[in-house]
Structures are given as C-alpha cells and as structure tokens.
C-alpha cells in the first residue's frame, strides 16, 4: 500500500520535477542525519545543480514509510529517479562513494 502511494507520487513528480529525485531517510535530528543531509546537499550542489530534488523523511515521524523503500539502516539515501532505484547507506561523508552510488558523472 505504501509502495503504491510512493509510486504515484513519483510519477507525478517525474512530470514536473527534476531528473534526479533523491529521498533521504533519517531517524530524528541526530548528528549523523544532519551530517548526511549536509553532505548530500553539498554533493548535489556540486554535481547536479538545478537538476535535483531532495525529500527528507524522518522515520520517527512517519515510521510506516520505512517498509516501502525497504529501509533498514539510517541514514539511507534512495535514488528514486532515474531508475533503477539505488540506495546508499551511511552519512555520505565519502563524496566519491556517493557519486558512484548515485551513478553520477562528476563535473570536472
């Protein structure tokens, strides 16, 4: 059920939104989650400027969403679009690994 709503949302998003749709799952405002978001924003600004959206989902607020994207570890970054779905777990501190994980061609 969760999955279908997510899909619908994604379809709608594809039309009007950016070619990179990223979703970051966190559990509360921990140091790790803040670090992950900061790291993600930095990577995206550097390499995907203007072509991305980031949706942050706090599982403490919406625990039911964890099952939909098969989230176990937090923080988890899910690349919803472009498909296929890819996941990167951790605080995204290693930029190189993030780029490999997202399959983004680094600028420069």
């Amino acid at each position: 059920m969760n999955h279908s709503t997510v899909t619908a949302h994604q379809d709608r998003a594809t039309h009007k939104k950016a070619e990179w749709q990223l979703r970051l799952y966190v559990a509360g405002q921990t140091a790790k989650s803040r670090a992950a978001l900061e790291n993600l924003q930095r990577v995206c600004e550097t390499h995907l400027a203007g072509r991305y959206t980031i949706e942050v989902i706090d599982l403490l607020v919406n625990p039911r969403l964890a099952a939909g994207d098969q989230i176990l570890a937090v923080p988890t970054l899910v690349r919803k679009v472009p498909e296929p779905i890819r996941k990167i777990i951790g605080d995204l501190s290693n930029e190189e690994r993030v780029l490999v994980g997202l399959d983004v061609q680094p600028v420069r």
Binding site: A27, A35, A66, A73, V74, I88, G101
Partner: protein, 579 residues
C-alpha cells in the same frame, strides 16, 4: 522416575515466566514454553523447519494465547510464507486482517546498496517498533536475521546493532524467536548464539538407513531446567510435533472397568471379565495364527458396545480386511457406516515411525476412540536397530493410556515358539497383557493355540487353549483335560469320540442291568403271585375240606338223629304191634 518427578516439581515452581509455543510436545520439553520477554535462538541447517517453528510459535500465540505477533522475514516474502503456512491450515492473511499478526518482509539487496560513512540500523528498529505498536504485539519472529550479514558489508556495525536489537527486544518485553542457519563449527553461521543467550534450540535433520528423522534439542535454557535429550519431531499436517519421550509422566489413572475382547473364551481366561479398560494388549504370533482376527474381534466388540474403535491396518487394505473378517462372521462394514469404526490402511513404509505415531495421535485426538487396534505393530519397525523405536512406542502407549483408550497391538514373530521373547523384548514390557498365539504342529496337523503370557493385575488362566474360527467369529474351545494333559485338535476330537463311545457303552450296560433287575423283579413278583395262588389254593382246599368235613359231620349227626327219630317211631310201632 525420580528424575522425572523432581523435574515436574521444578516446573510447577513459579520461577521463570514462560510463553507456551503451542507446538505439541515442545512445551513439555521446555517445561512450559519459551522464556517470556526474552529472545530464543532456533538454529539448524537448511530445511530443518526453522521457519515453520517460528511461524507456528507466532500463529499459536495469536490464536491460542491472545498474544499478537510480528513476523519479520528476511528470506521469504510475505505471500510465500502465507502460502507455505496455508498448507498447515494457518491463514496468515486472515490473521493479518484481524490485526493479530503483522508480516514484514525485509528485503536487502547487496547490489543495490552502496555504503559510505557511518550508519546504524535504526530503520529496522523503527520498522519493528512500528509493527509491534500497530497491533500491540507480544511476540516477535526474526527469520533469518543472518541474511543481513550478506546484505550489509560492515559487519562490525551489524554486530553492534544486533546486540542492541536483542537488548531492545528484551527491554520491550518481547518473547522473540530468532532463527539462524547452522554453521560448520558453531551453532549459527554468524555466531548469533553470542547475542541470544537465554534459550537456544537446535533443530536437526538426519538420515539413517534412508529414513529421515528430524530432531530437536534444547541446547540451553537459562534459568530453567529442560529436557536435554534429542527429541524426534516432525512437520505434519497440523504443524510441528515434538515427541518428548522421557518427559512423559507415568501418572495415568488406572481404570477398574473391564472390557470384553469379543471372544468369550478369552474373556474367561482373563478372570472371566476381559482386560482392563485403558490397558494395552499385545497379541504376538507367527504368520497365520489369527492375530488379525483377534484384533478385528476386539474392535467389533467395542463397536457392539456402542463405543468407537480405530483400526490401523498396515497389512491389508480396508476392503480386503472387511471381506476377510466377514468370512469369520464379523461384519465390520456396518459399524463403519454407523461411524463407530474407522479403519486406516496404509503401508508402513509410507513414512517414518515418528510420522506414523504423530498421525496416530492426530487421528486418536480427532476420532476419540475408546479402542485402538494396530495391526501389526511389528511392521512399523522396519529398522529394528533403531534405538528410538522403543521410546516412541512407549510414547504412543502412554498417550493412549492418557486418553483412556484400550489398545491392542498385534506383532508378527518368526514361526517358532522358542524365539518368541526375542523380537518382543522391545515392546512387551510396555504391555499390560500379552497373548501369544502359536501353531502347534502335531500328528500331521496344525492347531491354533492361545495362551496368556502375562496380564497385569488379574489372575489369568495359565492354560494353553485351542482356538477356532467359526462362521460366527472366534472362540476358544473348552479346555479338554485328559488325565494330566490338555488335548487339542484331532487328539481332542478323537478323545472326545472315544469318551463318547465309552459313555454310550456304559449307558447301555446300565440300561441292560436295569432291565435285568426289573425282569428279575418281575420274575420274583410272578413267583410271589404263584406262591400266593398256591397258598390261596391250599387255603381253599383246606377250607373246602373243613367245610366238607363239617358238612359231613353235620350230615352224620342229622342223619343219626333222623334215624334215631325214625327208629323211635319204628320202636313205637314195634312196641305197639308187639303188644
């Protein structure tokens, strides 16, 4: 026995809270179930029934003990599990709709995951916590959490998180079952036993002489005593069943009531009343001695009393049995139509001994018979060296006693009387009554004989009796004692004939003598009559003579008088004339 009673005492003492699993037999082994509010590790090789174990624990909890549960699976997905469990009669979908169970499939794909920097498994905790809260779960299953080891590259983090997870489950008071794949030298491949230390159950699946047996062992149970043996268990039509042999207690109530065996002569040998209700009877004998017929009569007698009988036939098909028994006047078919008799025919090789026993249990529980007949029990024991044979049979007999069923088992022995005890050593000591059937070959004929080798608690007959098939069933021929021996077969018949002839002769002799006597009496009577006649004759003669003489005398006197009178006249005349 002392150990058993000691154990029961410990179980009764309120020490550690336990949650019953609902798995038959396991709660007996563990003395009440798994530790409440603590995780239990269930480990074993692939295909040994871990998932089944976990699922049954959860479903029984939800259905029988009002403890909702969360099934978090890492290998199968929810619909696969639901399909698998449906085959055991558990409707997981329905339970899910009723909010008694939550199924959560955690899929982890190594290829999809890239790892960078620090992380923890808070997501898993949140998912589990959410599932628990959504139905107020008391039980949790994690099947098989080890899958995470192949999914997540950082084992250091994983181990730390697992430790935290089990602590967290304990804090939340969840009675949890965690399954783990068996490792080569360790209980689990990734050493989960390190984290789950309260209770560890090992499942095993091994093949001996082409027959596979599943076994279960409680490796450890912190804070509680438990059965330490390996117990055979199986996955039957109704889920898991553990057969705890040694945990059975010998405390069934001995009934005073007696039941008829359906053979009048046999009842007579057993104090004229038959065996006790709820006792077990072994009928052993070589081929063709009439074991099945005795078994069928026993069942027939129960049905005739209006009781239910359950007959396990491992040699004949149902219709063959019905036909054959009809030939000796036992109409079993109409009992079957009335629903008093149930015949279950199968080949013993169909499944292992344990499976047969569990199947028997299931049928006994379902049909609730008062008489159970197994014909023959020796066929179940294909592998005679199997050490578990005796205990499993013991378990069967004990449980039948618990139900109050009178059980009759037939057993095939080699065609010789001197090896009789050999093949029966395993089971005979478990039996209350042991009947031995033997064919005695003598004088170019065989005679069926029956003897009561033992019968606990009654003064049974010591005689070897001849038993015969008639069109109206079986019967024992009255003991034919001649001098100091019991005669059987033709010897009995000829002796009977001889005696009969002798009796007739004697009778005739008596008759003759009586006739002689009476004719003698008649002769004497005749003599008496003739003597009497003579006497009368003489009396008559004498009387006549007396009469005649009297008459003659009287005549003479009267004549004299008349002469005198005449003379007087003459004299007057003479005197007158002379004057």
């Amino acid at each position: 026995m002392a150990a058993v009673s000691k154990k029961t005492k410990q179980i009764n003492a309120p020490m550690l809270a336990k949650s019953p699993t609902g798995i038959r037999g396991l709660d007996e082994v563990t003395g009440g179930g798994l530790p409440t509010g603590r995780p239990t590790l269930v480990c074993g090789a692939a295909g040994c029934g871990k998932t089944m174990f976990a699922a049954e624990f959860l479903v029984c909890g939800a259905l029988q003990y009002d403890e909702p549960g969360v099934f978090m699976m890492f290998e199968e997905n929810a619909s696969e599990l639901a399909a698998n469990m449906r085959s055991l009669g558990f409707d997981l979908d329905k339970l899910q709709r009723q909010k008694k169970i939550v199924l959560d499939y955690v899929r982890i794909e190594r290829s999809e995951i890239e790892e960078t920097g620090e992380y923890d498994l808070e997501g898993l905790f949140i998912r589990l916590g959410h599932a628990i809260d959504s139905i107020g779960a008391k039980r949790v299953v994690l099947d098989t959490i080890e899958a995470l080891f192949s999914g997540l590259p950082n084992h250091a983090v994983l181990r730390a998180e697992l430790r935290r997870l089990f602590r967290w489950l304990k804090e939340r008071g969840m009675t949890a079952v965690i399954t783990g794949e068996r490792g080569e030298t360790t209980l689990t491949r990734y050493g989960l036993e390190e984290y789950v230390a309260d209770c560890v159950i090992l499942l095993d699946h091994r093949i001996h002489e082409q027959i596979s047996t599943r076994r279960l062992r409680v490796v450890k149970y912190r804070g509680s005593s438990h059965g330490t043996n390996e117990y055979p268990f199986l996955i039957g039509a109704k889920g898991l069943s553990v057969l705890p042999i040694t945990s059975m207690r010998l405390d069934h109530v001995a009934l005073e009531e007696r039941v008829s065996t359906g053979i009048a002569g046999l009842d007579e040998m057993l104090e004229g009343a038959g065996p006790y209700r709820g006792s077990s009877i072994l009928v052993s004998g070589s081929p063709g001695t009439g074991k099945s017929s005795i078994a069928a009569s026993f069942a027939n007698a129960a049905c005739a009393r209006g009781e239910r009988a359950l007959l396990f036939a491992y040699e004949e098909s149902q219709s063959q049995l019905l036909r054959n028994m009809r030939s000796i006047g036992l109409d079993l078919a109409h009992w079957e139509q009335k629903g008093l008799l149930k015949i279950h025919s199968s080949r013993p090789t169909l499944q292992g001994l344990e499976q047969h026993l569990v199947f028997m249990h299931d049928l006994v529980e379902e049909f609730k018979p008062s008489v159970v007949v197994v014909d023959p029990i020796s066929n179940l024991t294909i592998d005679e060296s199997d050490a578990s044979l005796k205990p499993t049979l013991m378990r069967l007999i004990d449980s039948l006693k618990q139900y109050g069923c009178t059980a009759l088992f037939t057993s095939l022995t080699a065609d010789s009387t001197n090896v009789l005890a050999n093949s029966e050593v395993g089971v005979s000591s478990l039996m209350d009554t042991w009947l031995l059937l033997a064919n005695i070959a003598h004088n170019a004929e065989r005679t069926r004989t029956l003897q009561v080798l033992k019968s606990r608690g009654m003064a049974h007959s010591n005689q070897v009796r001849e038993f015969v098939f008639t069109g109206r069933g079986l019967d024992l021929v009255d003991v034919y004692l001649f001098g100091n021996q019991v005669l059987t077969g033709t010897a009995r018949v000829s002796q009977e004939a001889q005696e009969e002839a002798a009796t007739e002769l004697r009778q005739r002799d008596h008759d003759r003598r009586l006739r002689e006597l009476s004719s003698h009496r008649q002769a004497i009577d005749a003599q008496i009559a003739s003597l009497k006649a003579q006497q009368q004759e003489r009396e008559g003669e004498v009387e006549f003579a007396i009469a005649r003489e009297t008459l003659a005398a009287e005549g003479a006197v009267s004549r004299a008088k008349s002469i005198a009178r005449g003379r007087g006249n003459l004299q007057k005349r003479a005197a007158g004339s002379r004057r």
